[in-house]
Structure formats: structure tokens, C-alpha cells
Amino acid sequence: MSETIAFLKPRADVLARRSTIIADLADLLPPEGLVHEPRELVPFETDAFVSYRRLPLAVALPTSTAEVAAVLRYCHRYGIPVVPRGAGTSLCGGAIPQEDAVVIGLSRLSRILEIDPFNRTATVQAGVTNLAISDAVSPEGFFYAPDPSSQLACTIGGNIGMNSGGAHCLKYGVTTNNLLGVTLVLVDGTVIELGGKHLDAAGYDLLGLVCGSEGQLGIVTEATVRILAKPEGARPVLFGFETSEEAGACVADVIGSGIIPVAIEFMDKPAIEICEAFAKAGYPLDVGALLIVEVEGSEAEMDAMLSLIVEIARRHGVRTVRECQSATEAALIWKGRKSAFGATGRIADYICMDGTVPLSQLSHVLKRTGEIVAGFGLRVANVFHAGDGNMHPLILFNANDPVEAAKAETAGNEILKLCVDAGGCLTGEHGVGIEKRDLMRHQYSEADLAQQMAVRAAFDPQWLMNPSKVFPLEGRPAA
């Protein structure tokens, strides 16, 4: 497809020095720590946002903070752009490289360093996957709360880069609310510690600033996160509605009534069918929209909360209510939901939007989304975190058809603008990356953007860190 989002022009001086750079970097890394053969670079040309692709100059796979620092120090000295990469699961192209960039892959920093039940913290290297943290602390009775759908594969380093959310963030907050400290390597190779096992910052909340900075302020190599006691019980319940509007209104009423379930997930009919085909979770196929509402606590607590929710759902004409009967069933219900994006691959290519809107706008935005996509002659499946208004329309298209691909991209942009205009934002949890970079001016004024860019430049005056992402290419402050 023809690309509408531009990357920075590769630095000619860097490209010219390619072989020297590769030889120098190889010296800084352990055996098999540098990928540079052209054919081996191809699999690194994109992440889970496959519409855009660029080959990197080389891929470094360091095994320690010191090696990350050495590579950054070198790249900084010679003005070589750097693109950090965790598991490469970004849905906005956050880890897509560029021709003059060295990718620093954190996949080999995969050790769990310390589990501290007393202080309820886990300290892990950046390449540890999100789910591996929960698995590691599970025997002690804990879990790590933010649970992006890609939690099986995505790394904590990537989660911090994108300030990732997930289904259960309705109750537990997103990454930034569960992050206590990081080891951060700055662009010049300086290693700093932010936070720790204590709460709040001594000075400015740089930890809060780094979280969600999309690899532009430095590279996180270690993180200390809050772990929480596992709830006594958890019960996902399926609520089937005739229409998306009814389901949307029900969500707003549940939250408005003062009940905050752990999660409220929404699926429309296409999404239900896609997920059921993969997970066989027993989602009702005869409804127009489905809510997965999860409550947790003791049996009495769950019963009390559920009876209130069921009552509200009945007022909105709920057609089926199904409580899951076993842990296996609950696991399947979540497996289906969390595999929704991937499972969509069974029927079509897709791009996944991530706008967030105020709850009162949910029904309106859902309806308009359908109209926008239909206007381009495409189909859409909706599966998202309804409790916090974080929408994920999946625009289905055929990637081998350049016309359709272009339409999908345009429709996506219109949907995101719609979210902003409805009082929301471009991205709730996936990040701006390359995908939404040129829409930033729709959400922010020039002054707002300039201020963000100025702060960014305080960390990386030469704009070497993941430079083609997040901020529009024009109007960036000079070094």
C-alpha cells in the first residue's frame, strides 16, 4: 500500500558508516548479540502494526544493563538513532525501526530478579513478559494487575514504554499506577534509578514521565512493580444484549450506580463470532452485543455485587445472563477475549483502533464508528474495555488490496478524530507510535505539543531515541 505516514529521512552519514558501526557494536555485545545480515534483519522490520515496515541498520540483543548502556553510549557519540524493542507486539508501530537505526531488543533481559512478598513488589528485567510476572508471584498468592491482551507475549519494558492497560485496569489502574521504580539508561549511556520499593518521588515524578514515553526518554532495563494479593474468587459473567446501544447504556449505568467491577468488556456480534470460533468459550451467538463483567471477592461479595448488576442489566433488556461455573470456563472466557485481535486474523487483516471516550459517548461513538467504516465499504468488529471507555474497533480489510488498505487507514483516522471530538483521546493504552503521530495536532494545540516536545528534548536533545514516533516531524525543537 502507499504509505501516508512518513519516516524521518535516514541520516546519510550513518548509512555510509554501516560496516564500521556493525563491527564496533559487535565488540560491545556477546556472541550472537548483534543481528546484521540483511536477510536476518527482515523479521525485525515491523511489529504487530504490519502496515508499515522499515529495515533497521542492525539489531542489538544485549544481556545486561551495562551492555545496553554501552550500545547507547556508542550510538549517542556517533549520532545513530535507536529504536527500543520488547516483544514487538505494538499495535501502533512503536517498535518499527528505520534504515539508519539500531534496534535494541530487550528480549534477552528476561530474568526475574526478586520477589518480595513483604513489600509486595517484584523486580524484573525489562524483557520479562507481563504474564511471567504473575506466574512467578502466583505461588506466593500474588498477581501483577495490568493485563494487556498480549500479556502472554508482551514485555514489562514494552508495557512501561506504552503505559499499557488491559481489561482489569478498571479496578487496578494501568501500568503507571502499578510501577514503583525503574533502572533507566539515558540516551548518552548514563544509568539512573528512578523510584524503588518506596512510594512517590523524591523530586519530580520522572518515573511518571518515563512511563508511556514510548522509548523516547531512555531505555528501561529493570523495573520494580507492585504485586497484589490474589482475590479470594473471581467470576466473569456474560450478559447478552439485543443491541450495542443497550449494552453501552448498561455499562454507563453500572458505573454510575457506584459499582466498579474488576472488568467490563464489550464485544459486538462480529467479535463474538470471531472469538467463539477460536476459544469455544460458550459466548452466546444469538445476541447483538455481549458484556463480560467480572466481579471478585468472597462468594457473598460477588453475589451481592452481581445481583445489583443483574438488576441494572434487566432494566436494559438483557437477553441472556450466564455465570461461569468453573475456573476452566472462566479461563476460556478470558482466553477468547484476550485472543480477539489475533483471532480476527482467521477472517481478515485488520487495524485496531484504541481511542477512549467518556462513557456517556459510548453508544454514539459506536454507532458513528459503524457508519464511518460502512461508508468505506468495509466491516468492523468491536471488542473493547467498556468500563473505561477504551474502544478497540477492528477495521477488517484485505492487505493484499492496496485500495482497501488505504480505505482502512483513512477510516481509522476518522474514528480516532471522532473519539477526540467526543471528549476523548487518540489512544487509551496502545500508544501513539507511528500510527497516530500525525493525528496529534487533532488532540493538542501547537503550544501543548511544543511543551511536550521540549520536555522530551531535555532527555534527548538530538532526537535519537525512537525518533520517527509520537511527535509530528515538523516543529520539533532543535538540539
Partner: protein, 402 residues
């Protein structure tokens, strides 16, 4: 200080700041002036107050989000929330009693100081509730950051940066924050007679259970009498707060009583008594003693709190009690603030930070109020400040070393 500037709108504030920046006039930033004793002394030419910009701008209880101008009195906000069965989840501390200030705390001041109380342990700090801000930077430009939805990762999180920056990076004009339903019922379990270390273990054990303790504090014998009019049971009190549905709080309470009752006397306080106790803990009641004896606010790992205190006791006259599962230590020094001793102990037990909350005017000029940062972090912080307040006109000196 000569002038006191009280803009009534954001535009006026921006104009005043532009003028100040042009003239190189330094501004002391304040809201209700109840927390102004914070930090190191500010040397400014004028005071810029947000108190003139007041009022709730938007509030839809069903969205659990409120937007208010920075100078809105906290009391007004809490009252409005209460009317709708909601609350600020982070328990903002009222500093008046301990700092000996009067005036009306503002919502802007709450966020500018990231003022969080006991529930911070479970529900996050002020910064975690803050969704969006408008502020005027040191160039006099109005900047909007964040938004009004719960999940938003669009661009750099300047919201977090400004929260807790004590007016040194920008002048907050409007804040949008998340609110939560007020729990229907609450109960505090009191485990009596534990020493500091045993209390830390009990609190850690409680937080490791699935009963959702929302706050955990330890009030040693030396301060017990200062709470609830002396009506807490004999001995040090380790207190655990449970909140939620009427169907669940008693069940969870019974579990805690059963577990800890095997080793120590356990009692309970319900609803208003419980809420009152936590307000007193929040507002540091024992050290609201109308003196200027130094008070430190120390944040360390929960396992380190009692160790820091024990180490200091060997070398200085101190009194202390604990919040946040033992990780927040309120410490009153008998005489000298002993910053070096304290900060060495913190570093020794795994790191954290100590803020000098109260001290005599003389001490405040000599002791850095905020924890000194490592050279690399200090340099980075200074570069960040440079980008928001290039002329250094906001609260100069307050976060000395930054």
C-alpha cells in the same frame, strides 16, 4: 515580597506570568497558602495565588470524573462529591494543623503537592487520580495536558510531571480528576500491643491477604493517646482499614480478627469512629502540637520503616508513627532535624526519601527539605525545569537542588 497577584481567570494568569517573565520577576506560587511552609524557603518578588480561579467546571457522577479550577476550595469539592456518594480516593492530607497554617486548602494545591493520605497505599496517590490539567508555563503559555478519560496514553504524561512539582514547573489553572464511589461501610481492625517490627509483619501479612485492606498504619504507644481522644485500647495500635459493601466488610473483618487474634488483643471500630481515626492519621494528629519541632515525612519500603526508626533512635531523640503499611514514617525530632543521620539510614535500608515538613525558619534555610537527588537525576530534573520555566521564575529555591 511586594505584590500579591490573584488572577481571576487563566488568561489573566498567563498575562501576569508573561509580564513577570519579561521583567525577571520571581513568583511564589500558592493556592490557599495552607502548605506554603513546604520545602526550602522561596525567594520571590511577588506571590501568585490561584484562589481567584474557583469553581467546579464539570462533574458527571456517572463518569466518575470532575473538572475544577485550581483555586476551588477542597471543602467545596468534597462536599459536592459527598452529595453524590463519591469521594477523592487518595485522602488528601490537610496540612493546616501540623504546619500551623490557616486558610482554605485548594484542589490545585492538593495536586501540586501530590498530597495523599492513608488510602494512597491501596488506591494510589493524588497523581494517580489526576487525569488532566491546564497550566501556565514559565513563558506564560497556557498548556493543556492529559484529558478527562480514565485511559489516555497520548503523548508525554506531563500530568504526572506537574503533580507534586510544588509549583516549580507551572501554575495550575484547572484540574480534571477521577473520583470513586464512597464505600457503603467501613471498619477498622485494631491489633494491640505490638512493637514496631511485629506491627510491620502484621501489616505485611494483612496486605498479602485477599481481604483488600485499604489502609494500614501503626501507632506506637507514644502516640496512641493522641488518637480518638485517647480511646484506643491499651498498648500500641496496629490499625487495618476495611471498606466496601455491607455484605463483605464484616466477613473480611472476621477473617482478620481470627488470624491476628491468636497472637494479640484485637478489637474493631466501625464507620464514623473508624473514619475519624483515619482522618487523624492522615493529618498527623500527634504532631499537630503547635510547635516548630522538626517533622519529617519519610517514604521507604514497608520493611525498612521500622529499621530506619530503630537505627535513628540509637543516635537521636525522635518520635515516630507509621502509615502505608509501615513505609510512610512520620517522625518528630526532639531538637535537631539530623538530616544526615536520617538520610544515611534511609540509604542504608534500601533507599527512599525524607521530606522536612516542618522546621524553624532557621533550620529551613540550612537543611534541604527535599531528598537530594543523585547528580545524574538532579541534572536531568534541572533540564526538565529549564524546558517549563526557562527563566526560573516559579517558586525559586523551593525544591533546592533541582
Amino acid at each position: 515580597m511586594s505584590a500579591i497577584l490573584v488572577p481571576v481567570c487563566e488568561e489573566e494568569a498567563a498575562g501576569m506570568i508573561r509580564a513577570a517573565a519579561a521583567a525577571g520577576r520571581r513568583l511564589a506560587i500558592s493556592g490557599g497558602n495552607t502548605r506554603s511552609g513546604f520545602g526550602s524557603p522561596v525567594s520571590a518578588d511577588a506571590v501568585l495565588r490561584s484562589a481567584g480561579m474557583s469553581g467546579i467546571v464539570a462533574y458527571d457522577p456517572a463518569e466518575m470524573v470532575m473538572t475544577a479550577r485550581a483555586g476551588t476550595p477542597l471543602a467545596e469539592i468534597e462536599e459536592t462529591l459527598l452529595d453524590n456518594g463519591q469521594m477523592l480516593s487518595f485522602d488528601p492530607i490537610d496540612h493546616r494543623a501540623i504546619m500551623g497554617t490557616d486558610g482554605e486548602p485548594t484542589i490545585g494545591g492538593v495536586f501540586a503537592t501530590n498530597a495523599s493520605g492513608p488510602r494512597r497505599l491501596s488506591a494510589g496517590a493524588a497523581r494517580d487520580s489526576l487525569l488532566g490539567i491546564r497550566f501556565v508555563n514559565g513563558r506564560g503559555e497556557v498548556i493543556r495536558a492529559g484529558g478527562r478519560v480514565m485511559k489516555n496514553v497520548t503523548g508525554l504524561d506531563l500530568v504526572k510531571l506537574l503533580a507534586g512539582s510544588h509549583g516549580t514547573l507551572g501554575f495550575l489553572t484547572e484540574v480534571t480528576f477521577r473520583v470513586l464511589p464512597r464505600p457503603k461501610t467501613e471498619q477498622t481492625i485494631i491489633v494491640s500491643g505490638l512493637d514496631d517490627e511485629a506491627a510491620a509483619r502484621v501489616m505485611a501479612a494483612a496486605m498479602g491477604l485477599s481481604v483488600e485492606v485499604s489502609a494500614a498504619a501503626h501507632l506506637p504507644e507514644s502516640v496512641r493517646g493522641r488518637f480518638l481522644g485517647g480511646h484506643l485500647p491499651e498498648g500500641a495500635a496496629t490499625v487495618l482499614r476495611l471498606e466496601g459493601l455491607a455484605a463483605s466488610v464484616p466477613v473480611r473483618a472476621a477473617r482478620l480478627r481470627e488470624l491476628f487474634g491468636r497472637h494479640a488483643p484485637v478489637s474493631a471500630n466501625e464507620n464514623e469512629a473508624s473514619a475519624h481515626l483515619w482522618r487523624q492519621i492522615r493529618d498527623v494528629a500527634p504532631y499537630a502540637d503547635s510547635t516548630s519541632r522538626p517533622v519529617w515525612r519519610v517514604s521507604v519500603a514497608p520493611s525498612a520503616g521500622f529499621q530506619v526508626v530503630a537505627a535513628l533512635r540509637l543516635e537521636a531523640g525522635i518520635d515516630a508513627f507509621y502509615d502505608w503499611q509501615g513505609g510512610l514514617v512520620w517522625m518528630r525530632m526532639e531538637a535537631d532535624p539530623e538530616p544526615d543521620l536520617l538520610r544515611r539510614a534511609i540509604a542504608h535500608f534500601g533507599g527512599g526519601h525524607a521530606t522536612l515538613m516542618r522546621a524553624s525558619a532557621q533550620m529551613r534555610t540550612t537543611v534541604p527539605a527535599f531528598e537530594p537527588l543523585s547528580p545524574a537525576v538532579a541534572a536531568l530534573s534541572a533540564r526538565v525545569k529549564q524546558q517549563l520555566d526557562p527563566a526560573g521564575i516559579f517558586n525559586p529555591g523551593k525544591m533546592a537542588g533541582l
